[in-house]
Symmetry: C2
Subunit: 120 residues, 2 copies
DNA sequence: AATGGTAGTATCCAAATGGAAAGTGCTTTC
DNA sequence: GAAAGCACTTTCCATTTGGATACTACCATT
């Protein structure tokens, strides 16, 4: 007789799996968390500010990732009516709901690094 | 005068950024969270069990991702002394420390899906 | 001897990811 | 009027990722 999936074949597991996929696809890529983290620290930053703050990112990537985040309403983009045109990027109210997740991510990463050091 | 990074140029931010990079690189890829989640539900599962439970994954990916997780001590691999050889995969004690992170990820994903439905 | 189960590996290939460098258009300052 | 700052976009390219398919090798049952 053939075996079939059983554990994940329950509604609650399907929902959990889908939720993980959703979150991952929205926050995929090398830079999303860095951008969000930096914006949470800096509150309001321009494009060039972000380019300077986030070590290693290029303008192409920054531009693309900001567009992704804006599309998902996690970051707002406001063109300011200033002499040389400036743009303000900020974390939206909804984007701020990611703070606990980013915190967990950070806490785990710090603990991981310590566990490696500690075991040496 | 040229501007320089200021916000992220503090030790605490450097550590945070590095922590995020660490966590992301360990848990990168399409399947790591699914594998961990399934193993947390099932406690002990064989290779073919995982292949059946995780919808869409192929044996090549499963094999590679399990090796990654094993290398980082998040999953254990035990060859059992059974008639046809079987292997038991399980989440390690250390891997279990990811539970809060996976929970946050799941909670946020569920809330995200509801916010899309709710705003329609 | 054929089928089916376990646990993978090997090969090939297409698509996605992301980095470097240069260019655009505008404005202000020296 | 040259340089420099802002906010990007475009082009090109190399690497990474991951999926499909096939295959190995061992054991048990029919």
């Amino acid at each position: 007789m053939k075996k079939k999936a059983v554990i994940n074949d329950t509604p609650v597991c399907q929902v959990r799996m889908q939720a993980i996929s959703d979150t991952m696809s929205i926050l995929s890529g090398k830079w999303k968390f860095h951008i969000l983290g930096t914006l949470m620290e800096g509150h309001k930053l321009g494009f060039m500010d972000l380019l300077r703050e986030i070590d290693g990112i290029g303008s192409k990537m920054l531009s693309k990732e900001l567009q992704d985040l804006e599309m998902n309403h996690l970051v707002s983009r406001t063109v300011m009516n200033t002499k040389p045109i400036t743009v303000e990027y900020a974390v939206t109210e909804y984007g701020a709901t990611l703070a606990p997740l980013i915190d967990e991510l950070t806490k785990w990463g710090i603990a991981y690094r310590q566990s490696i050091h500690g075991s040496k």
